[in-house]
Symmetry: C2
Subunit: 504 residues, 2 copies
């Protein structure tokens, strides 16, 4: 969130490993197209796709177009695409193949001349995690990472998952940081590129009304909910290993938690913000075995209906074991043991094949003393502030007002600020923002190593509690199209609370 200073024009070649993969065509190329259409892409810029399919430069460009046009829809600007695609080239080689890297090096040197990119390179690892280490090794071995004066900068962007536990994450990190500096290492979590996530800090630290009540004196509980209607889709291999725990909790949800819970940083500089986020992770209350049993619910979707369409159970999905014990749903009660949050439970919920797609942070305020209106009209609804992340982006506030008319009753009413309702195209895709930040070298919205480290420490407690036997016995199921298993409701009911679900 550092202020942009554009005195120095940005120069760079973006090298995408996994150029023929889903992420490239569905996210990266559309983001580059949109930036180009807005005039936000630098002049001295070009793209190299690297993959194992046999394609010409033109063939590669053409292969990107159908997905691009679906992804950006009516915002497609053929002129922008024409200008972008002439700067896109393709190289075919296996990630193990030394010769491929040597050829890439020559190509990049030619491109430096053609586009005056000054040796600056972004290596985007849009590949399966097992390729991360080999690619960074070979990049270094073949002189593609120098980071020395006169040779420009070289940055690496790594998609999740960053490891599958603390041990593997540490190993991967050692490998990467032996080659790239921390400042040139961009661990991407695309959630952090979303408008309303960037807005959480603004809401908290630029508004006296919210700042005044953002603590355990005024807040009863906080719910962080990321629900999806889709199932496992085409990612069976990855998801069987990850589950909701590694796919959502370790990264996206703990990021939302840190932004919601962090103390005001000393400045908006990258490291100051990250310092505060890490402090939240460090203050997470440890999950003892007793608390694991009581406070963590894991479940897997069974058959059901999504919008009147019958859908299969997780175990029936293509590529999934019929005896799989992978969690597709997770609900947890967490505590942040610091002065601000002591006593305030954070309830986290995420799952696939649920009733609605929505990511929200829900702040439930403490009830007033049960006097005056509460005494006259019975228990009042609590005040609820909701930061809506997706698909709606905005802020929603529910409070109590007099019922209109002669009726002396009180009823909850709402106020709504919807950031993307009127101007949907105003909200840039997360990847637009994040790609630009990589070019600028601003890593505020990326995950620092110690954030990854502490989040794995937390998640490992849960994962390790689930040996093979416990993994089966702790798993419950829920019908697709519901809000998840009964146990998730009981988790809150036990505390005399309820999940808030904002529909629409």
């Amino acid at each position: 969130m550092r202020r942009l200073t554009q005195q120095q024009p940005i120069r760079a070649v973006l090298v995408i490993f996994g150029g023929t993969g889903d992420l490239t065509s569905r996210k990266l190329i559309p983001a580059l197209h949109n930036l180009k259409a807005k005039g936000a892409l630098p002049e001295h810029f070009a793209v190299v796709g690297v993959g194992r399919r046999d394609l010409s430069d033109e063939g590669f460009r053409e292969s990107l177009y159908p997905t691009l046009s679906r992804a950006v829809g009516e915002n497609l600007r053929d002129d922008a695409w024409a200008r972008l695609k002439e700067r896109i080239v393709y190289r075919r080689f296996d990630f193990q193949d030394e010769q491929g890297y040597k050829g890439l090096r020559e190509l990049l040197e030619q491109m430096d001349e053609a586009y005056q990119t000054g040796g600056n390179r972004i290596y985007y690892l849009a590949v399966a995690p097992e390729h991360f280490e080999v690619i960074v090794d070979k990049l270094q071995a073949n002189g593609l990472v120098r980071n020395r004066d006169g040779w420009g900068w070289q940055r690496v962007v790594i998609e999740k998952p960053f490891g599958r536990d603390l041990t593997s994450a540490r190993r991967l990190n050692q490998k990467i940081t032996a080659i790239f500096t921390e400042a040139n290492t961009f661990r991407i979590d695309h959630y952090l590129g979303k408008e309303m996530i960037q807005n959480i800090m603004v809401l908290r630290f630029a508004n006296p009304l919210f700042e005044a009540v953002w603590n355990n004196k005024h807040i009863d509980n906080i719910q962080i909910s990321a629900t999806e209607t889709v199932g496992v889709e085409t990612r069976a291999g990855y998801y069987e290993q990850a589950g909701a725990l590694r796919d959502m909790l370790q990264n996206h949800l703990l990021q939302l938690l840190t932004l919601t819970g962090m103390e005001p940083p000393v400045s908006l500089a990258t490291e100051a913000v990250r310092d505060e986020k890490v402090k939240v992770l460090r203050a997470l209350r440890a999950l003892t075995p007793e608390r694991m049993a009581a406070d963590v619910v894991r479940a897997q979707y069974d058959r059901g209906r999504i919008e009147d369409r019958r859908v299969a159970a997780y175990r029936e999905e293509k590529g999934i074991s019929p005896t799989s014990t992978t969690d597709t749903f997770l609900a947890l009660k967490l505590g942040i043991d610091n002065f601000r949050w002591a006593g305030v439970p954070f309830y986290i919920r995420t799952g696939k094949r649920l009733r609605a797609k929505s990511t929200d942070i829900i702040i439930q305020f403490k009830n007033l003393p049960q006097i005056l209106y509460a005494k006259e009209h019975g228990a009042l609804q609590p005040d609820i502030l909701i930061i809506r992340i997706q698909p709606k982006e905005g802020v929603y506030f529910q409070f109590n007002a007099k019922k209109p008319g002669m009726d002396p009753g009180i009823s909850p009413v709402k106020m709504d600020f919807c950031q993307n309702c009127d101007f949907e195209s105003n909200s840039p895709e997360a990847y637009e923002k994040l790609l630009l930040d990589v070019m600028r070298g601003d890593s505020t919205l990326f995950t620092r190593w110690d954030e990854v480290e502490y989040s794995w420490k937390f998640v490992d407690q849960i994962a390790q509690a689930w040996g093979e036997e416990e993994k089966a016995s702790s798993l419950t199921t829920y019908a697709a199209g519901t809000w998840g298993p009964a146990a998730a409701n009981e988790l809150l009911a036990r505390d005399e609370r309820d999940w808030w679900s904002v529909e629409g």
Copy 2:
């Protein structure tokens, strides 16, 4: 705001003195019509109009219809009016005439039998203030006020102005309370019947978020603004004597102030609420002569334009002296010297012939420390909460959010809860609510004597500072159709503040 218990059906005859006047046809009859249409008017109920014009019962009813149909517009229900009007009769007599009262007494006794009203009467004094005393005197002298077991109850409703200063108000009050008890005396301030004014207490005491910040730790200043576009209209005689000071400040605006500033009452019972309102008036900081000069702005409208129409100066209006020094605009800075409000200025503004018609309570929150976003993006707009009284009814909240898109800036956005936007007819007219409250004997929304007393004490300080000479010298002017005189802006500019004007 006491809960309604309807075990006992309401029985009463409503006697309107000033039956042929404006208030009766424009407000009271439309309110009765609406209540009838909603089925909210009791069965055992009838109306007597008393006036000096020579009209038959039928002629009186017919004379009310054109104004009624204009006033209620498309909500006119001819069946409701037919059922109401057959219960309306008319008596002509001069308010000094003993015989008239004797005749009225006989009529009411007949009506008690016809409508089973059990001796219950509401005497509504919709007349010029000089008639108040004589009417209550004659009512008593002719046995029309008894308030004894077996004779039902007799209540009096008194329109403003209740006196023109503390002395005359005290005299009037002594006269009235010698005849009617305080519980049967209803000093009407129709502002208190408005939906959003009843909502102020609900907003404050049924919402933890608002309750938490409703004090000098979080609030920078409060602005209470009641602006009109109309001029003096047909009320020249009254207005020349009253001015904005007596017409608006002494009653409506100080009422808004007390509801905004009061401590939580021990219960919602009438006397508990009134006790807290009075405490606010008692805590008003005295206006010393120095503070008068600095903190009170009075002005009168000059020629100008209202919505592209040329309008006359106040001194050119029909019935107004060409050398009049009456204030049609008033701006004040007040202080409430108690623990909750010490240090928070209350700015009050009211005037005729201003740019827009709007009554609003504007809560401006204290700025956050000028660090983080303020440091990066310059001074941020403050958070503003607005309780909108009329013509729009609702709550409006302006806060800071990230600008959408790549721009790192912050901009104010708003959330809006509009109570009367979708269902305009849902909001009953103030007089509907208040007439029903008189019938029920609920005086929560009426002004208790000590409220009147303390508000006159405060207003008298201002009035007495304006002898004839000062009245002329302290008066400034403003062009019709503006937001008032420059001095009103300077009043806030001196404190490095601004008036907030919500348009639309």
